[in-house]
Amino acid sequence: MTLQQILFIVISLVVLGSAFLVVTTRNLFHAALFLVVSFFGVAGFYVLLDAGFFAAAQVLVYIGAISILFIFAVMLTRDVITAQRGNSQWQAAAFVGAFLFLLMAILLGPFSITIRGHQFGNANWPFDMAGDAIKAAPSNFVGTMGSGLVSMDQYGVPFLLAGVLLLVAMVGAIWVARELRGREAEKAAAETAIDDADMDMNQPVQETLPLVDTNEAHESHDAAAVEKH
């Protein structure tokens, strides 16, 4: 067994183990921290694949930015975090996940199983490369990729669109998550009240009680905020 194989096995155990803890742990804050461990292991995979630039980008973007966003979101919603692990359909979800994994493992690896005379899977998998078939690591792929991303003949337009997507996502996130104050808040509260009245007339059986409660709580909270100012 070569050093690379041992490294691969260690990294994949770290990635899969922490990913499993992300989906099963009860404490959401711990889940966010295990997510960081999992991202770090994926960065290790990129190093093994000779893509050092992507390992650095993984650490910067995923661990540095996205995980921090998750930790902030977890802390902002701390008082409603439930102790429950899964919802009512977790058994069906586990079955779907396990079944899909078995299917992909048979399809992707050089294994095959025989069920009632029919062979499933490909024992001579076309991409099973080893030894001489391994291609040399590319040199300066970051420069090639950079010039390809900004060249209009290759990926210039998608690159610009990705920039627009990031801008729209940033503006949209601020717009969605902003807190209404003063007259805007009153207007929004009035609109919600009208909506609730409509709903009551259309569907009198609907459970609107909790909604009304939260609206009142929200209004009083806003009023308190205005008084503070």
Binding site: V23, F70, W125
Partner: protein, 105 residues
Amino acid sequence: MINGIPLYWYLIVSAALFCIGLYGVLARKNAIAVIMCVELMLNAVNINLIAFWRYITPAAISGLSFAAFIFVVAAAEAAVGLALIISIYRNTRSVDPEKIDSMKL
């Protein structure tokens, strides 16, 4: 650094990561955890793209460019998704995806 590691090792690990993420998306009871699991799935896709790039076409840049775009989309998705959850939490005091059904017919 890929001596001795067949390509299908990467593919199977990323398939396992994808399926763990899928299980989390379907089964978690908290919307923030659901978005975490979506990030796990996007990571699995990225491992696949970069592994295929390294083993099959190391001279071309298409696999790398796709991986870079997935980074961008993942960042945008996390920002918008978490903003939506914060907004929903502020209005309903809940982040349970099963309880957020006011748009149901």
